[in-house]
Every structure is written in C-alpha cells, then in structure tokens.
C-alpha cells in the first residue's frame, strides 16, 4: 500500500529516477507582522476585526506555501499559520473544553493547556477551510497535520472522564469525523501528530486503538502518517508496526541517530519519515551533513520507503534559519537521489531492494 500511495506525490518534473519524498512535519515560524496583527485582533481597543485577521492569515498562508515551494518540497502545507498551538487550536473547536491560562512546557515556552470539563463533541469542521484554501493556492500536493487524540487527551487537564484512555477514544471518534471531511474535500496526505506518545510510551496500545478508530472507513489511497517526537523509541517499537498507518515520522537527528538500532530488529515494515535536521538548534546543517543523515535512514528502510523531513515542527526557529534548513534538506535529498541513480551509494544488505 505505502509504495503506491507515495508515488502520487512524485512531481511531474522530478529530476531523478529515485524519489525520496520530501515533506515538513507541520509548523513553520510565523512572520512577525502576523503575530502583531493577531495581538491587535485580540485588543478590544484596536479597530482590527476578525475579518481583517482572516485576511492576514490568508496572506501569511500564501507566503508560507510559496516559501515551501521555493524550498523545493514535494508536499507542502500552510505552515499552520492559522493555528496558535497544536492542542489549543483543536480544543478551541471541540465542545467540552475550557481554557484557564498558559502553562510551562520548557524554559519560556508555554501553552494554554485546556481543561476538559464536559463530554467532548464535534461541532463545526476543524480544518476543511484551511485545507481548501491551501490546496487552492499550492501547486504541490498538500499535507495536513492533525494533533492526535491521545495527545489532545494527554496534554489537557481531564476533569470529566474516568481516565485518559476514555477521553482519548472519545476524541479519536471526533478525529475520524474530521479526517472523513478532509478526504471528502480532496486531502490525500494526513499526518497524525502524537508527541505525547513519546512522553508515556507504555500507552502505545491506547494510541493503537485510537488509530484504528481514526482510519475506520478511510480509503487506502489516503496516506496516513504518524509523527512521534523524540523519546525512548525502544519502548514503542516494534509495537508501532501494528498500527494501521502508512508512514512513521521520527525525530532521530536531535539524538544524533543513537536510537537507529532500535528500528532494525525486527525489520521496519512500513515507510519511514526520517528527521534529518535538528529543530532545537538554530545552526543550519550543511547539505553534506544532511546527506549523511539521510543515509542513516537506509540502515532502516530502502530508498523507496524513505521520506525526508525535519525532526519536528520548525516554528521555534528564526524564519530564515527554518527556510535554509528546509532548502538544504531538499537539496541533500535530490543529490542523494542522483547518487542512488548512479549507483554511488552502497545500501546495507538487509534493506536493499532485492
């Protein structure tokens, strides 16, 4: 399934025989003017209204889609310009949530961790408008990241459900409704973000149950990825191979690929989206450095199962740094493809195509 559904993203003018699908995890730095405009829209004293904020969001999305396309990515997004944060954005659209104020994640990074105070319910669509706009602007296929139900549950205060699993399953049913709506609107590449699984890996079975609910009734040609941020991956592998998804997106660059061995035994049987640039450092990796990182992926899967992405969302990086990292990443992927075409790269025996 996965080998076929990735080919739909190969650009018509792709220069190489090999195709390492390049992608982003999701978030991208917001332009400073957009932050100022958002502040103005929040300020009752200003004359800035919601309609003008929407216009600003549209403009920012156009800029980011263009930035992704200029960097050469094969699949693009709007950089989540309309989303304030990966849990807040969804909690704001789901009945049953309330907000009490920001809490610390690390250093001076905070988020408005919401509280579930009543049963969660699906009201209006969360992302279809965002997707339709992005698709209308982009000339490349669009990838849609959605925060997964396990993370939505784990990163909320649960005042209403007996336990976190019950809350996660209730949310998974809502995510399924949203994925159906996105597919109806034309989406073909959806990424479920479950960073919380890295925090509490022993809950991998809960995430599995959530994913079963999410993909129920979704057509095979829709590519479903799962992103799990940096953590002790040995505690969720090989269990994650049982998940009903096409691609795992993993943050391995941050740990200097020390956990690579985790994924070689047993054999990795789905597609790997490999993080090849570190999002926690503002130092831009050179093309050569990234090429070496990409080659680490061949220790796990053959090229036809390898997707290239940053370690995680890049929104905390300075914008020019984020752009340069992505551009170098694409350049590195294209050079590796050419070297593969020319037979210049030795693949380890266990992952070679034959």
């Amino acid at each position: 399934m996965s080998e076929n559904d990735r080919e739909q993203f190969r650009p018509d003018d792709h220069p190489n025989e090999h195709f390492l699908l390049t992608s982003i995890v999701g978030s991208y730095p917001k332009p400073k003017w957009l932050n100022r405009v958002s502040d103005l829209a929040d300020d009752p004293e200003s004359r800035f209204d919601e309609e003008q904020l929407r216009e600003a969001h549209d403009d920012a999305c156009r800029v980011m889609i263009d930035e992704h396309e200029r960097a050469g990515l094969d699949t693009v997004s709007d950089g989540e310009m309309r989303r304030n944060e990966m849990v807040e954005f969804f909690a704001d659209r789901i009945e049953g949530y309330e907000f009490n104020g920001p809490v610390k994640v690390w250093g001076h990074n905070y988020f408005d961790k919401p509280s579930v105070v009543d049963e969660v319910e699906y009201a209006d669509s969360w992302l279809v408008d965002e997707f339709e706009f992005t698709q209308s602007v982009a000339s490349k296929p669009v990838k849609v990241p959605i925060t997964g139900p396990y993370t939505l549950a784990a990163w909320s205060f649960n005042e209403a459900y007996d336990d976190e699993a019950d809350l996660a399953y209730a949310l998974a049913d809502l995510v399924n409704e949203e994925v159906e709506a996105l597919v109806d609107a034309g989406a073909r590449y959806i990424q479920i973000d479950e960073p919380a699984l890295a925090t509490t890996p022993d809950d991998h079975a809960i995430v599995g149950e959530c994913l079963d609910r999410i993909v129920a009734g979704i057509a095979d040609e829709v590519r479903i990825g799962l992103h799990v941020c940096y953590g002790d991956y040995s505690r969720i592998y090989p269990e994650l191979l049982e998940y009903p998804i096409d691609e795992f997106d993993l943050e391995l660059c941050n740990g200097d690929y020390e956990q690579l061995d985790v994924f070689t035994d047993p054999e990795f049987t789905t597609d790997l989206a490999l993080g090849v640039v570190d999002v926690h450092t503002a130092e831009v990796e050179s093309v050569e450095e990234i090429k070496e990182n990409i080659k680490q992926g061949f220790e796990i899967v053959p090229p036809e199962n390898l997707t290239i992405s940053p370690d995680c969302g890049v929104k905390l990086l300075p914008r020019e740094v984020a752009y340069q990292k992505i551009e170098n990443m694409v350049t590195a992927a294209r050079e590796i493809e050419a070297e593969l075409d020319a037979g210049e790269i030795d693949l380890s025996p266990e992952v070679s195509a034959d």
Partner: protein, 328 residues
C-alpha cells in the same frame, strides 16, 4: 491532636505577566535559559515574581512561605544547571511529564554556590520554608562527567546540597523533593546509600525536614531504608497512589510528623476544603496514627497549573487546614 500545617512543595507557575516579560527578555531557545549572570532587567522581573509568590501565599493563608523558585527554568535540576562547574547539555524530559530541562553535565567539583540561599534570603516572611531537590533526585537528574563512580557522585551532590543549606537564612521547614525515589528508585544495593545521603543533607539544618515523594509510592525496600534517615516527616502522594502509600505507613511505620499530598498538582479540578479535610480524615482513619503534625500539601510541584487554578488550590489547602482544626 495533630497540628495541621498548610504548605506547598514550591516550584510555582510564573505569574502570566512574568511569563511574557521573561519570554521577551530571555528568549525561547536552550541557550536562553537561566545561567546565573542575568542583567538587571531580568533580575527585576524575578524580584517582582518572588514578591508576587509571597503575597499569593499570604493572601491564601498558608502556614509556610516558599520562594516559589521563579528562576528554576530547569525545575529540580536548577541548583546544578547554574553551577560554574556544570555544563548544560540537550533538553531532556522531566520525569514522565510533558516538560523538559537541560541535562546538567557535571565537569568539575561541586563546590557550594550560594545560589539558592540568595533566593531564600530575599523572601520577606517569618515562616520561611526552603525547598531543594533531595540528593538522590538531583543525582538522578544529572550526568556525571567528573567523579569516579556513582557512589562518589552521590556523595558530592550530598555535600553540595549540605553546603547550600549551610548558607540558608533562618527557615522553619526544609522540603527535600525526592520524586526519583518513586520514579527511578535505587537498586537494592544503593538504598542504604540514598538514605544516608538524605540523612546527611537533613543534618545540615536545624529546621524541620520533610522528604517529600510523589508520582506514586516508594518501593517498600526503599521506604524501609528511608525510615533510617533522621528526618521529621516523609511526604506521601495520596493522589497518585493512596493504597501503596498507606501500605508503607502501616507496614513500616512513619515519622511522628507526615506530609500528605492531597491536592493534585497536575489537574485543574480544584479540590474543595471539605474534600481535602475528608482526605485527611481518611488517612488518619486508615493509618490509626495520631501524628504530631501533618503538612497538607499538593502532591507535586505546582508549575504545571495555570495561575488561576494554582491560586485556588493554595486557598483550598489553607482553608482545609483551618476547617479541619475548627471541626476537631
């Protein structure tokens, strides 16, 4: 009759205005976190945040006043991450939470720094309560690149904490936070050493010492060894694991005083004073123990909460202590 003392294990959320100002002044990256050499603008924010924390506790009516630790960007690892002989490595997860701290990599001798003493001295209150990581937890959170082995490193961390305490101003109580005794308990062979380390740190102060544990209960062998440490009270997390906490108390006994973690430091659902009082009674009834003193506290540090809920929980704790005393 048990004296009820309403208090907290410290590590407060920054007031929202301080979150904004410090984000602006310090930045968001690894390298922007606290180093100990901050300029006057940043120091001014911390001073105001400290005053805010003291006022909040006073308004709530708590019986002990902590500094709130606004500077502790790295949570319990803070005393090491600002040390001159410690380098900070990558950001790593803080226990099993969605929080991160910088890996303190010890590269030289852990000489006393006076960092925590200076914070505590700035607290204008007569009922001061000091808060430190316990030696085992600080040892567990750090990476040693200097000492010969784990035993020597634990001794060095112990001496370091004792050295910090030696510079403390007068304080009524010292809370030593030891979540690692639950989350990553010592091996059988190391239990005795961990307990001795706590004993040595406790001996550095004349104040009452509470060894507070949370995110569950301590394994019983570890608990049995901890009872050998000369401290005034052990703190139990009755929110995360009431049954096993009770088991330890009933099986191995406990000190004459106790700290009861009765309020959930990681959920916005605010416990009413009546609920807290009922939980105190539940512990009393199930331990068949007349404690000299019981510290009523949240189970965990409180920085996980939004400010409004954090303040509401302080008030509930203080009111619960008053309510229970009136009832008695």
């Amino acid at each position: 009759m048990t004296e009820l003392v309403a208090t907290t294990p410290g590590l407060y959320p920054l007031p929202d205005w301080a979150k904004d100002e410090l984000s602006e002044l310090k930045g968001h990256q690894k390298g922007d976190l606290i180093a100990g050499d901050e300029g006057p603008e940043v120091l001014d924010v911390y001073e105001r945040a400290r005053t805010d924390a003291v006022d909040t506790q006073g308004n709530a009516g708590l019986d002990r006043t902590v500094e709130g630790q606004p500077r502790w960007d790295d949570m319990l690892a803070h005393p090491l991450t600002v040390h001159e002989n410690v380098e900070t490595g990558g950001i790593i997860r803080y226990y099993d939470n969605n929080n991160f701290y910088r890996d303190p990599q010890v590269q030289g001798e852990l000489t006393p720094s006076g960092d925590v003493a200076a914070e505590l001295s700035a607290v204008d209150a007569t009922d001061r309560q000091a808060v430190l990581p316990g030696p085992y937890s600080l040892f567990d959170l750090a990476t040693d690149e200097f000492y010969d082995d784990d035993a020597e490193f634990l001794d060095a961390v112990t001496d370091f904490l004792a050295g910090e305490i030696a510079e403390f101003p007068t304080h009524e109580t010292l809370f030593l936070l030891e979540p690692s005794l639950v989350e990553n308990a010592p091996d059988d062979d190391d239990n005795e050493h961990a307990s001795e380390a706590i004993d040595r740190v406790a001996a550095a102060t004349d104040a009452d010492v509470v060894v507070h544990t949370y995110w569950g209960s301590i394994p019983e062998r570890t608990y049995a060894h901890l009872m050998d440490a000369d401290v005034d009270a052990i703190g139990f997390d009755f929110v995360a694991d009431a049954d096993e906490s009770l088991y330890n108390i009933n099986e191995y006994g406990t000190k004459d005083a106790v700290a009861m973690g009765l309020v959930d430091g990681q959920n916005t659902l605010v416990e009413s004073p009546e609920t807290i009082r009922d939980r105190v009674e539940w512990v009393d009834e199930n331990t068949h123990t007349e404690f000299d003193r019981a510290y009523l506290t949240s189970n965990t540090e409180l920085f996980y909460l939004p400010v409004n809920r954090f303040e509401a929980k302080l008030k509930s704790l203080a009111d619960a202590a008053t309510l229970a005393e009136v009832d008695a």
